[in-house]
């Protein structure tokens, strides 16, 4: 409970709360002698109830005047999840359908399908920290690791914009790794690479990536949105064909990932259903324990405090109304 007051100096009035304990709120009436008549338990109980109600009323009013509120704070909680970087291909080919042409009518482009399914995925991952990066010619740092689902949704939605020319997987991966690097928590780290093609990774970049991946364990998922008729990850070149990264980038990228010695899985999806399947598969796999911070917003408690004061005052009012005079004023006159 992180309670605070907007105007703390009203606490100076707190000693007033002792008054109801010392003095009764009821009008005092003289009686010749109550000696020889013991106090009955009910009267005693009512007496103390009224005194305490008076104290509560004053304390609550003072706290209400002071503007009692609970400070916004973050609490550490543990749940299941992972720190995920979505690395999304922004090359223009993503705007095509799985058939490899511009979407027409009710057709859905690869990026739109991926976007829809990724959003669906994020919504159901309550405790994940998600970062978003994109790459085409050069990598783009879109959203740092965050728990704000709305921001992630917006970032994923940004894939809607028209794509750019090239596919530079290597530098995109390097950026994703950098994003993970900044995060020091012991949570499981995941990079989800969403692309519809591969490219040659420079030998120098390969070495750097290898070193970076070796530094800390990262789970890498490659969601390969394969356009119909193009070579897949597991396509083995026909005899006589060239088996070079330039000729078959997907196969060689896959081989490179496998050679990294990290937990790696590739999903080849040729339609939205396959993407959904792959994403749910990732969701199932990434269920390691995680500690996450939950943010609780600033909460104004003065209304509640005033309600407490009102309740206490109602008790006092009831007591006041049930007060009787030993000698009625009419007779005294």
């Amino acid at each position: 409970m992180n309670l605070a007051l907007s105007t703390p100096w009203v606490l100076l009035l707190l000693p007033l709360a002792l008054l109801p304990l010392l003095f009764s709120s009821q009008r005092e009436q003289s009686y010749p002698s109550i000696g020889g008549i013991e106090a009955d338990p009910l009267s005693l109980a009512i007496d103390w109830t009224l005194r305490i109600a008076g104290t509560i009323a004053i304390v609550a009013l003072i706290l209400g005047l002071g503007g009692l509120h609970r400070l916004g704070r973050t609490i550490e909680k543990s749940g299941e999840g992972a720190h995920i970087v979505l690395l999304i291909d922004r090359s223009s080919s993503m705007d095509n359908t799985f058939a490899g042409r511009a979407p027409e009518g009710g057709e859905e482009s690869k990026s739109a399908a991926a976007r829809r399914l990724l959003k669906d995925f994020i919504v159901h991952r309550d405790h994940d920290l998600v970062g978003v990066a994109a790459f085409s010619t050069s990598p783009m740092h879109i959203l740092p690791m965050t728990e704000h689902k709305d921001a992630v949704m917006a970032a994923v939605d940004a894939m809607d914009r028209e794509g750019l020319a090239m596919t530079n997987v290597g530098r995109g991966l390097a950026l994703s790794l950098d994003m993970q690097e900044a995060d020091t928590s012991p949570a499981a780290r995941v990079i989800v690479l969403v692309s519809d093609g591969a490219a040659v990774i420079d030998r120098k970049v390969q070495d750097k990536l290898r070193a970076a991946f070796a530094r800390r364990p990262i789970n890498l998922y490659w969601l390969f949105l394969r356009t119909a008729g193009t070579p897949g990850i597991s396509t083995v070149p026909a005899p006589g064909e060239e088996d070079t990264p330039q000729a078959m980038p997907e196969r060689h990228l896959d081989k490179f990932f496998k050679s990294l010695g990290i937990s790696y899985r590739a999903f080849e999806a040729e339609n939205p259903e396959a993407i959904a399947l792959a994403i749910s598969e990732i969701g199932k796999l990434e269920r390691s324990p995680i500690t996450y911070l939950e943010r609780i917003p600033h909460e104004d408690l003065s209304a509640r405090v005033f309600a407490v004061a009102a309740a206490a005052l109602l008790v006092l009012l009831a007591a006041k109304l049930s007060e009787v005079r030993l000698v009625s004023t009419r007779e005294e006159a």
Binding site: Q29, G36, I37, A319, E323, E331
Partner: protein
């Protein structure tokens, strides 16, 4: 409203009072006396040698005497008595219910003082709370001087001090000669002090006059919260009055009253109770029976 009218009714000038014992005072007065003399009621015969007053020779008795002894008639002399009022001016007498208890007390003292002086008796007033309040009292005197001031002071006095233990000290001041002592109080003293008071007053003819207000007992409310402060001790108490508690209170008050009545009857006359208003006729009858 009839009660109020009765309170406002002018006090009688004279309040008769009578004693069943004989005064030992040598001073002439209006009460039966141990003194023998010339006037008054015939008491007995004595020989002229015993009582040398030849003016009172009873001829008939002397002639009837075969031995020729001369008999003299003796008559009872009327003597005065001392009347002392012990007035409780402790805090509880400040209670104002149907009437002010101090007003009732002042009325009583005024009428008593007048009556006593008209009868030619000595009147003394001792007012006491936790000690004797000399400024309110008056020493035994037959003079009327200062009487008006005394009554005015009593009427204006607002009791505030706690405790009535000074009554015992006042009782010791009454003196050794048998007096009629009227104790005007609400008798809300602790039981041991009550016993000590009556013990001290035992040589005298004690007439307790108890002032009660109907609001402190019979007319207690049946329901409701009352914050009461004890006039005697200053203690405060919140009372959630309800019929069962009211009955309990009345039982306690009645127990206290019957203890007092039993004690008073053992040491002196039956107490006379004044509730809200003074019924002068009843008080006169009570004082006149002398029992």
């Amino acid at each position: 409203m009839t009660e109020r009218a009765a309170t406002a009714a002018p006090a009688p000038v004279d309040l008769p009072y009578r004693i069943v014992w004989r005064s030992r005072s040598v001073r002439q007065g209006a009460h039966r006396s141990t003194q023998s003399g010339a006037g008054g009621i015939f008491r007995d015969l004595a020989t002229l040698l015993e009582y040398r007053d030849p003016r009172r020779i009873d001829l008939r008795q002397s002639l009837r005497d075969p031995f020729g002894t001369l008999h003299v008639r003796r008559f009872e002399e009327k003597s005065e008595i001392g009347v002392t009022v012990l007035l409780d001016v402790s805090g509880s007498m400040a209670f104002e219910g149907s009437s002010r208890k101090m007003k009732l007390a002042a009325d009583l003292v005024q009428v008593l003082a007048t009556s006593v002086r008209r009868a030619g008796d000595t009147f003394a007033l001792y007012a006491a709370d936790e000690e004797v309040r000399d400024e309110l009292g008056s020493p035994p005197t037959r003079s009327r001087a200062g009487e008006t001031d005394m009554i005015a002071a009593l009427r204006a006095y607002v009791p505030e001090r706690k405790g009535a233990s000074g009554l015992i000290e006042a009782a010791q001041r009454v003196g050794r000669k048998r007096n009629v002592v009227l104790v005007i109080s609400d008798f809300l003293l602790p039981e041991d002090q009550l016993v000590a008071l009556f013990e001290t007053l035992s040589p005298h003819d004690v007439i307790p006059i108890r002032l009660v207000d109907s609001h402190e007992n019979a007319r207690l409310p049946s329901w409701g919260l009352m914050q009461l402060s004890d006039l005697e001790t200053g203690r405060r108490r919140l009372v959630a009055m309800r019929p069962s508690l009211k009955a309990e209170w009345q039982r306690r008050i009645e127990a206290r009253r019957s203890f007092f009545r039993a004690l008073a009857s053992r040491y002196g006359r039956e107490p006379f109770e004044i509730t809200d208003t003074i019924r002068w006729d009843l008080l006169g009858a009570h004082l006149a029976t002398g029992a």
